[in-house]
């Protein structure tokens, strides 16, 4: 703690802060532009000037930049000093010289940091009468709109895009008053984190291009705290709606998970909610018109009432509550997790590793803090994008120690970067092919899955002689293995990253062995295991069988209930068709008309994450609640309510049939399954009140509430009630604002503070700027490793991969845009999704007689398919990568051996 004096009053602030951090943490209004809590200080904009005094006798003082001055003990400053105010005001005036007065037509208006700061500076009138400089804007792709005339040259965009996120196609050009931020030529921004420019830019240069298609002001959006459903990272989001349309996704700060940023899949995948494939009314096969909900439920329930036999197929993309309701309807023995056999086995293995330990799961925050990392088999940029962004920060941890030795504070970004240059800490990446994270790796290795496992085993063996040593030659050289083991052993916070994406038990085992060996050596190792979907771990925790077992369990003619799941994606069209044929009634509860729903005899329209509350367990084992944003039109309701209705109509489910609210469901879940005991505490119950009232989803300035539905009725309809959460659907209730009365962090529907309308207002909700939210970051970890931890995996390292001269080993490859089911339904994401492909290296292309860009036929045990040929030079010989989940890609079991030949030969 350091005592500093601001305007002659003393304050205690944590050590190592700068004056801007300290002032904002203490709640002062000090304007700034170029500083960002995640990006540090560069002292470029001169907006945060304060007057510093030598001691109590110094009356003159001198102007300093708060962001560049350490908050050392006994620092005396004045924020209110007339000279400092005048200086800040003049900076505000310069910045406005070229800034257009187009706020009413600018998407940023009303949530613009520049607007806020100009008001704070009391810079009201413009004296400049000259012409303004103008630019030609660029088309930066489907996500980000570019309007350079509004730029105030704070450089935050390049600092985020290049320094923080590692993008290389975006830069600052020209100099002086002509500085231009953009690409060398028009084109899609290549970084998968480009959408963060929208929030990093303090004004309207970069705005959300998808929001533009259905624009709504921030104050006209009804918002709720939500969770991203497009991968297992579980990033916290704020989802905004108006007129029944989900308008956009913004970041919701969670210090343990996503911090200030989101990936583009998470930010732009939301449009599936508004998509044309949505189901909004019950459908009964053979009837052209929509069915009444009561008819559909009665018809679906009648075969259930007869007795047992119904199989329920859950889903790793549905909430815990929905899966649990299905489990209650069909019984634990007839509940399927909704995952294919291989995926079910591997995700269960991940769950076992996290439960038994010894290494605890790493949050994204832990990953960013790690000072030595081994990535084994996982292309994290495409399977858990925000983990890749965290790992990009981890390589700074070790060099930062050198900066600290030079007494450079961590927040002094320019000085730190000058001191560190290109120094990077140990990040070792062993994957099948090159990944977008390779540019910051100390070394990369590319090998077949079994060879990756062997490298992992060799590292484990180097760390702990008790671990089995792989026999024969390795795909990486021994010196490198020794270096990796040395770096992990020497680290203060080592991290092992692996996952299920290669569908390889051997790789998972090897990662566990490395973690175990590090633990045995007394190192505080953490492990990050990537699972595929937003609730994969939750579905695995509920138990249940896999899809193969479910097929075997299903008696011909028995009803099959499928919850938010598209089975052909999981087990292939043929198997799914056999399952459907075998089933009697096929009841699908889903929000989207998937191929499975098209086959259904009855479809019940389910709520998406934005239309119903639900709890999701991310890959770290953290349970987080996504709150309903709006009431969907039509007969849409939460999946668990449809399943509850089926219980009531069929007389099954026992006590579960009496569920009325979400708290009833989570309460029953917590009672029935001890692993979920904490799930009730993930968010305050629906009975929670703050200042005696609910928390309002609509901001106080929400406009047109009495006129909004005037095209339907001139009477203002009664607002919908919310039995499931402590949020209200209107502006009545507690308006989110920082202390003294701040909502519990899980229930913050939006960030706003007096004078702070932009995303920067989150500063006032944190214990210290950039630190956790007051009251703790939302979400609860359900899984902690048991002490003293499980013994190391038994068995030997796998034998080396032998390329076959006729067949290729096909392994899955993932795409951030396209591989995930729901985000691929969003037009902006779909626009960047590649065609289904098979990838080979140059030698193999030649051997197979294939041409890059041509078509190939891939023939495996699961049938043949025609795929576009992609050249990936880094793939090992004898290994082919198959893009999974992409449009036009038929399901095939991966990894598997397959023949590959040019499509021309087919004709």
């Amino acid at each position: 703690m350091a005592t500093i004096f601001i305007d002659q009053r003393s304050y205690d602030v944590p050590d190592g802060m700068n004056l801007l951090d300290a002032s904002l943490t203490l709640g002062f209004n000090l304007p700034y532009f170029c500083w960002h809590p995640a990006l540090g200080s560069v002292g470029a904009c001169r907006q945060c000037a304060v007057k510093q005094f030598r001691d109590e006798k110094d009356m003159r003082g001198r102007l300093v930049m708060a962001c560049m001055t350490a908050a050392a003990p006994n620092t005396r400053i004045s924020i209110d000093d007339p000279d400092a105010r005048e200086f800040r005001k003049s900076v505000g005036e310069w910045l406005m010289v070229h800034h257009p007065h187009d706020c009413p037509v600018c998407d940023e208006g009303g949530e613009c940091h520049l607007q806020d700061m100009e008001v704070m500076d009391q810079q009201t009138y413009r004296r400049y009468r000259g012409l303004k400089r103008t630019f030609r804007n660029q088309d930066l792709g489907p996500f980000v709109n570019h309007e350079m005339n509004r730029c105030i040259q704070c450089y935050r965009c390049v600092r985020f895009y290049r320094d923080y996120a590692g993008g290389r196609d975006f830069d600052a050009f020209f100099l002086r008053d002509r500085v231009f931020f953009g690409r060398q030529s028009d084109g899609v921004l290549e970084s998968p984190f480009s959408g963060n420019l929208v929030e990093v830019c303090p004004t309207g240069v970069f705005t959300d291009k998808t929001l533009k298609l259905h624009f709504t002001r921030k104050w006209d959006e009804r918002t709720a705290p939500s969770i991203c459903v497009h991968c297992a990272a579980g990033c916290n989001t704020i989802a905004g709606e108006r007129y029944g349309l989900l308008r956009r996704i913004r970041n919701r700060f969670n210090g343990e998970v996503n911090g200030y940023f989101l990936c583009d899949r998470g930010r732009y995948g939301y449009e599936f909610v508004n998509g044309p494939r949505r189901v909004r009314a019950p459908r009964i096969a053979g009837r052209a018109d929509a069915a009444a909900p009561s008819d559909a439920v009665a018809r679906a329930a009648s075969p259930l009432a007869g007795g047992s036999g119904a199989i329920g197929i859950g889903s790793p993309r549905a909430s815990l509550e929905a899966n649990f309701a299905l489990r209650a309807l069909v019984g634990p023995d007839r509940f399927c997790s909704g995952m294919g056999a291989a995926e079910h086995r591997l995700v269960s293995e991940v769950l076992r590793l996290l439960q038994e330990g010894p290494a605890p799961a790493a949050s994204l925050h832990d990953a960013a803090q790690a000072d030595a990392v081994l990535v084994l088999g996982e292309d994290v940029t495409n399977t858990a994008p925000m983990l890749a962004l965290a790992l990009r920060q981890s390589v700074r941890q070790q060099p930062m120690k050198a900066a600290a030795a030079l007494r450079i504070p961590a927040w002094d970004d320019t000085a730190v970067r000058n001191a560190l240059q290109d120094e990077r800490g140990p990040l070792y990446i062993a994957t099948v092919a090159a990944t977008p994270l390779d540019d910051v790796a100390a070394a990369t290795m590319h090998a077949a899955p079994d060879d990756l496992a062997r490298i992992g085993c060799a590292i484990a063996h180097a760390l702990d002689q008790a671990a089995p040593s792989p026999r024969g030659a390795l795909a990486a050289d021994a010196a490198l293995v020794g270096r990796i083991a040395g770096a992990l052993r020497a680290a203060e916070r080592p991290l092992v990253v692996a996952g299920v994406s290669l569908a390889s038990q051997a790789v998972l085992d090897a990662a566990a062995r490395v973690a175990h060996a590090l633990h045995a050596a007394g190192r505080p190792v953490r492990i990050a295991l990537v699972v595929p979907e937003c609730n994969s771990l939750g579905a695995a925790m509920l138990g249940g069988c896999d899809l193969d077992d479910a097929t075997a369990l299903l008696w011909p003619g028995s009803p099959l209930i499928v919850l938010e799941n598209d089975l052909p994606r999981r087990c292939g069209a043929d198997r799914a068709a056999r399952l459907f044929e075998r089933a009697g009634e096929l009841v699908v509860v889903d929000h989207t008309l998937t191929p499975t729903a098209e086959r259904a005899t009855i479809v019940l329209p389910a709520a998406t994450f934005a239309e119903g509350d639900g709890t999701y367990v991310n890959g770290e084992g953290r349970a987080q609640r996504a709150f309903q944003v709006f009431v969907a039109g039509g007969d849409v309701q939460e999946s668990w309510r449809w399943l509850r209705d089926l219980m009531r109509a069929s007389g099954r489910g026992g006590a579960a049939a009496a569920w009325e609210t979400l708290d009833d469901v989570t309460g029953a879940l917590a009672r029935e399954l001890p692993a979920f005991a904490a799930v009730r505490d993930v968010a305050p119950p629906a009975t929670f009140r703050i200042a005696g009232t609910r928390i309002a989803r609509e901001p106080a300035r929400y406009s047109g509430r009495t006129a909004r539905d005037a095209n339907v009725t001139v009477h203002e309809p009664e607002p919908p009630g919310d039995p499931d959460s402590a949020l209200s659907f209107t502006m009545e209730g507690f308006q989110a604002q920082p202390p003294p009365a701040q909502p519990p962090s899980a229930l913050i529907p939006r960030f706003w503070a007096p004078g702070w309308n932009s995303v920067q207002s989150v500063n006032y909700y944190q214990t210290v700027v950039g630190g956790p939210l007051r009251g703790g970051d939302p979400g609860l970890r359900l899984i902690e490793p048991a002490a003293p931890g499980a013994p190391a995996a038994a068995g030997r390292a796998p034998s080396a991969f032998e390329p076959d001269d006729r067949d290729w080993l096909c392994v899955p490859m993932y795409e951030i845009f396209g591989s995930e089911e729901l985000s691929a339904l969003a037009p902006s994401v779909a626009a960047l999704a590649p065609r289904a492909y098979v990838a080979l290296n140059d030698g193999d292309l030649h051997r197979a007689g294939l041409r890059e860009g041509g078509d190939a036929v891939v023939a495996s045990a699961d049938g043949t398919c025609r795929l576009q040929v992609r050249r990936v030079a880094s793939l090992p010989p004898g290994v082919a990568g198959i893009g999974v989940g992409l449009q036009g890609a038929p399901w095939m079991r991966l990894p598997d051996r397959a023949r590959i030949h040019p499509a021309e030969r087919d004709r």
């Binding site: 070229h98 000259g130 012409l131 303004k132 400089r133 290389r168 196609d169 975006f170 830069d171 600052a172 050009f173 020209f174 100099l175 002086r176 008053d177 002509r178 231009f180 690409r183 060398q184 030529s185 290109d422």
Partner: protein, 200 residues
Amino acid sequence: MSFHAKMAYDATFQKSARELAPDDAPFAYTPENRARLDAILERYPADRKRSAVLPALYLVQYQQGYITPGAMRAVAEALAITPADVEDVVSYYTMFHTRPVGKYVLNVCRTLSCAVNGAGRVVEELCAKLGIRPGETDPTGTFTLVEVECLGACDRAPVVMVNDAWHECLDPAAAGRLVDDLRARGEAALSGCLHKVEEQ
């Protein structure tokens, strides 16, 4: 060059009768220049090729007079960086030309020391002599006149840099003679200057 917002830089700066290469015109170093670039690249570690971006761009400029988008892409490829990285540098430095310039680029320093020693009169003389304004190229495509900031020769102000060579302590008459000399003797006129940029 002007700071005035009314003046569109692109319209007048380095205006020339010569044809602009289209954006997508490919660029390739001549074998000699490629050899020189390779020699320069040898000075840097293989993963730090980007350190050679300035000499690589000068080689482009020696070869074709100015730097086209295609050339930026070629440089990016040669140095294993992105075209954005290259244009960042090209657009920042006034010494790099993105449009055709005359055979001789007269860079007149207008920063303080040169200004108080009469750089303004030197510019006037050159304008009158060549019949162009600063930022323009004469109709023959021989001379481009540019006003630049400090050239680092304040002790011998005012200074005019012609292509790579400084010509120092110039008064208007001397500047006029310099132009005549360049017209009469061409490249040879540059050899008499006090300093010359070291050959890359």
